[in-house]
Amino acid sequence: MLDVNVKVFRQREGQAGHFQDFKVSVPDDANVIDVIDAVWRQDSSFMFRHACHHASCGTCAVRVNGYEKLPCIYSVKDAMAGRAEMTIEPLRNFPIVGDMVVDVSGFFQKQIASDMLITRPAEKTLGGEAYERSEVFSTEGKLEDRAYNRFENCVECGICISACPTMAATDKFFGPAGLAAINRAYQETSDPAEREHLLNLADDENGVWRCHSGWECTEACPQNVDPAGAIMSLRRRLIGRRLKGIFKLN
């Protein structure tokens, strides 16, 4: 077992935040979510979000020792390397509901704008080979020839929002996840009107042009979504569209 000294941020509605020290004991191969759970076992008023414990739900994101992490996949050994204690705080750039819990509603409203589907076509194995197409059962339970799908990489954890310096300056910024979602939705559709609509969403003073190109989002993302890459891709598409417009004028 590992004995861990942990400094946890506490805050109740209408009160000032402060840190509280806990000592917990977790298995040697535990992840930081187990430390958070151990704190809750000592004090059931401790508020935190979690569900799957395998980086799929995206709810448990916090800052560990100042860095945005999904504690469910961040090992205690790594988090404690060279340190005497661990600090756990809520994400930045979100209103705090209490303790580790932040209000993600503004974030999800931006996600709704692109209407990115949770599923995407599963065209490749992770080994990079194409899946052999086969018959798959339909909604009516009949075999049909259709593409496999799989869940999107983005787990909507909000880590990129917390890591983004532009978000710290203005919450009107669409944000890395929202823009990455617009880019995904653009890739998924071949409908010119829908593509035009998505590019218009991105082409806003609070859209891709607000990004300071610091790449903190891509650095912090636990799912390799590469939001900054998506923003750059949208910028290239928008510049291409403008150039086309100029040539048409002349």
Binding site: A51, I73, E135, G141, R150, F151
Partner: protein, 385 residues
Amino acid sequence: MAKPHVIVIGAGSTGSATAHDLALRGLRVTLLERGEIANMTTGRNHCLLHSGGRYCVRDQESAIECIDENMILRRIMPHALELNDGLFVAVDDSDLAFKQKFIDGCEACHIPWRDVPVAEALRMEPNLNPKTLAAVQVPDGVFEPFRFSLAFVATAKKNGATIRPFVEVKELTRAGNAITGVKILDYRTGKTETIGADLVVSAVGPWAHEIARMAGVDVPVLPTAGVMVTVNRRLNNMVINRLNKPSDGDIVVPQRTTSVIGTTSWTITDPDQIDIPKEHIEMMLEKGRELIPDVAKCFTRGVGAAARPLIRKANADERDVARTFECFDHKFDGVEGFVTISGGKTTTARAMAEKVADIVCRKLDVQAQCRTKETRLESYRRYYE
């Protein structure tokens, strides 16, 4: 007369679906949850949309519920599901001997199935054990449990339900032999308050006993824990099941870019205090390797466990108003205005909700038909609107 008010305790899949069903029938609904939506039992489940294949030999009633609900969920939440089917795979002689029983079970439970030649199965799933002896395809699917529950909650909210996460029920209030509401502690403010209701539904899974105790009654729910081990690569496209009777480590469910191996089972006393035995984690990896050898080349990304509600069947009597769904009307214990639903599986959450909502409406003398089979759910994101 004002619309009756129903409090649903617990926002796992069952409570979320129950809030949705009752709101759709026009009742005033308040859904209470101690933490975030789906933060416990539902949140840490397999992510498996059951075809019923797992139960089709030994528990055909459950298998039929699963396939029926599977087909309904495909219609009402199509964008929240990965629908790549599942393979039941034989890797030894004992598995192979089970094959005909499995196919007969599928037939008996109207589960669509296809006998996939081994060479084709290996082409479809290149990481499958090359020693595979047989493979049968069934319409398994994959969901993401948090968003599965949110889709129900989002729709309930659109239909007027009040959703209150991070509040814990501390007491059930009563007048004579009737439950009249709940006393809650709101963790956001640290304050307590009392909420009145015409009826209280307990949908807290393995905690059912603890809420029932507040009403002075007992429910035969035994919390049992199960571990899920997630490896860092997505090794399969379809759900890969062991073609045999249910056992530890009999399934590898793909989830996003990872694979989730499950599960084990051990009895616990307190569902809030689960310590995962290290040997269970090792066993999952070992059993997972038998289905997909490349599990050995992966590292473990996440480990989770949660308590499941197991219903003790021994004392089945008139209290057990519907055994299949484990729904208890506590008027049979001398307490009015209080119903418990427990047991079951996330795949059958909608059906469980239908059953408990039927009982609630009958008790409150509300004439309203269930409409959840036909009502397409809102996007999970709309919970946050």
